[in-house]
Amino acid sequence: MSIRLEHVNYVYSSGTAYEKHAVKDLNITIESGEFIGIIGHTGSGKSTLTQLLNGLIKATDGHIYYNDKSIYDKKFDMRQLRGQVGLVFQYPEHQLFETSIIRDVSFGPANMGLAKDEIEKRAKMALMQVGIGEDLFEASPFELSGGQRRRAAIAGVLAMEPSYLILDEPTAGLDPKGREEILELIRWLHETRHITVLLVSHSMEDVAEYVNRIIVMNHGQIAFDGVPKEVFKNYRELEKIGLAAPQVTYVMNQLKDNGFQVETDAVTVEEAYEAIKVWARKEGVIL
């Protein structure tokens, strides 16, 4: 089970003054079970990549294979792909349109042509998963808080029971509590439901904390691809393309520059704590 991109190019409005080469010669393989973070500054091609993956836009050039079948093949069932590769857009709560939450969440499964009781079952389960109780099922989207609305919109995608889940900045504009809830939900989906997750994010801390592989996009190409520790070692190059490493990585580097011989590859606060403990034991310092 994998999604594979081979030499994928995408050009917007080709042949006009607005022409833009959004992604250039991308080669990526996403294996089932991964938790991938995609980072890059605005206009680096992140959004284009996410839309290419479930066939919302068609590559100008190149091939995309879902489980080794080309998605641009005439016989390929694009609708089924959309169900398999769920895409949660930025500010997904802006797409809610139904009179009640449960009806909105049923929209996806209903489009898949499922039986009525199956639709209801899936919608209820998806809402439960995102932590929206039965008392709110019949509520209008307008009666919910911002964080609840966002979670309801995510449930709208989860109800299609995708094997892959792509989330474009799912925590944008939420308060710290809302962010934590969403990120924990995503972690739970990955660990318990075994959904392959692609998380597009601007927060290096979030990415470092949750994912096990980072893809850094720059000018439509892949700048780095690897485990967080390896990628954030290149923090000086990351800064050049408008990104950064997690704050704690800088702290560790500062410590080392000031003569404390600590390992500098920590990317989360826990890891930094461990690294300092190791250093303290070695130096005989009591913390």
Binding site: Y12, S13, G15, T16, A17, Q51, N54, G55, L56, I57, K58, M78, R79, R82, G83, G86, L87, F89, P92, H94, Q95, L96, F97, F107, G108, N111, M112, G156, V157, M160
Partner: protein
């Protein structure tokens, strides 16, 4: 454009009424000159009765397009959206016409030489009209356009017509067209990602399927209007009275040349229509 491409292409294809950034004489003309020129050009299209007039109008159009540095193919794309209207008009003119040289008569259908001639001229007229007016929007930003209108219509202020407010409403409306198109594109994609289908089915089902697009679009339009009103009030906006401009419109030499070219075009049209034939 396969159906799997979702909302991507449909919306980006609407070029009519858009601005096309380029450096050209036409781009740097005062918007009032362009407004007057376009207006008079359109009027001239309805004066013509002779073939030579159409040839002249066509030549002028080609020359201005050349001078505008907007790619010809880009301008022609704008015609696509009106092909249906044009075919409709041509169809009625060809099949339900009166005239002396009847070619076919079958029930209510009658085809005459005059009818075909009229249909051809009408089609040409429509094409010229659309190309001419879209050339103006291609070379003038919406802001310049409303500035030009406001200034040109300023005398109406004396008749208690709120020219500034109308111009402001117009420029806000124009400003929001690309934003709402983008928003529509985004919502369409988001709903397509949930398996929505906007492209198949008959007219009724398709109209019904637009609900998941239109409801969020309206909500977002209201939200944006609200935010904008708040932002304007926060900056003490209170209408046109006593308001000055950062870049007031001023005629330059180029603009007088423009006016005289328009005037000489009108002169030639007058001569052709009255004396040549």
């Amino acid at each position: 454009m396969g159906k799997e491409r979702g909302g991507d292409i449909i919306i980006r294809d609407i070029t009519i009424g858009q601005y096309y950034p380029a450096k050209s004489v036409l781009h740097s003309l005062d918007p009032r000159v362009k407004l007057a020129g376009t207006f008079l050009y359109i009027i001239s299209l309805f004066i013509f009765e002779s073939l030579s007039g159409y040839v002249l109008a066509g030549l002028i159009l080609l020359l201005t397009i050349k001078a505008s540095h907007v790619p010809f193919s880009y301008i022609v794309k704008g015609l696509k959206s009106v092909v249906f209207v044009m075919m409709f008009a041509v169809f009625f003119n060809v099949f339900f016409s009166h005239g002396q040289h009847q070619l076919v008569k079958y029930g209510v259908i009658s085809i005459t030489v005059e009818g075909i001639e009229l249909a051809c001229f009408m089609a040409i007229r429509l094409v010229y009209l659309i190309l001419g007016s879209s050339l103006m929007t291609f070379t003038t930003t919406p802001n310049q356009l409303t500035d030009g209108l406001e200034k040109a219509l300023a005398p109406l202020n004396r008749l208690k017509i709120p020219v500034h407010e109308i111009a402001m409403m117009m420029s806000i409306a124009l400003r929001f067209i690309p934003i709402l198109l983008e928003e529509a594109d985004k919502i369409m994609k988001a709903q397509s990602a949930r398996g929505a289908d906007f492209e198949t089915g008959n007219l009724m089902t398709r109209a019904k399927r637009l609900v998941p697009l239109l409801v969020p679009l309206f909500i977002s339009a209201f939200r944006r209007a609200n935010d904008l009103a708040m932002a304007m009030e926060a900056r003490c906006y209170r209408g046109g009275e006593g308001r000055t401009k950062m870049k007031p419109l001023k005629y330059k030499r180029l603009d007088y040349v423009g006016y005289s070219l328009v005037a000489s075009y009108l002169g030639i049209v007058f001569v052709i229509e009255n004396y040549i034939i």
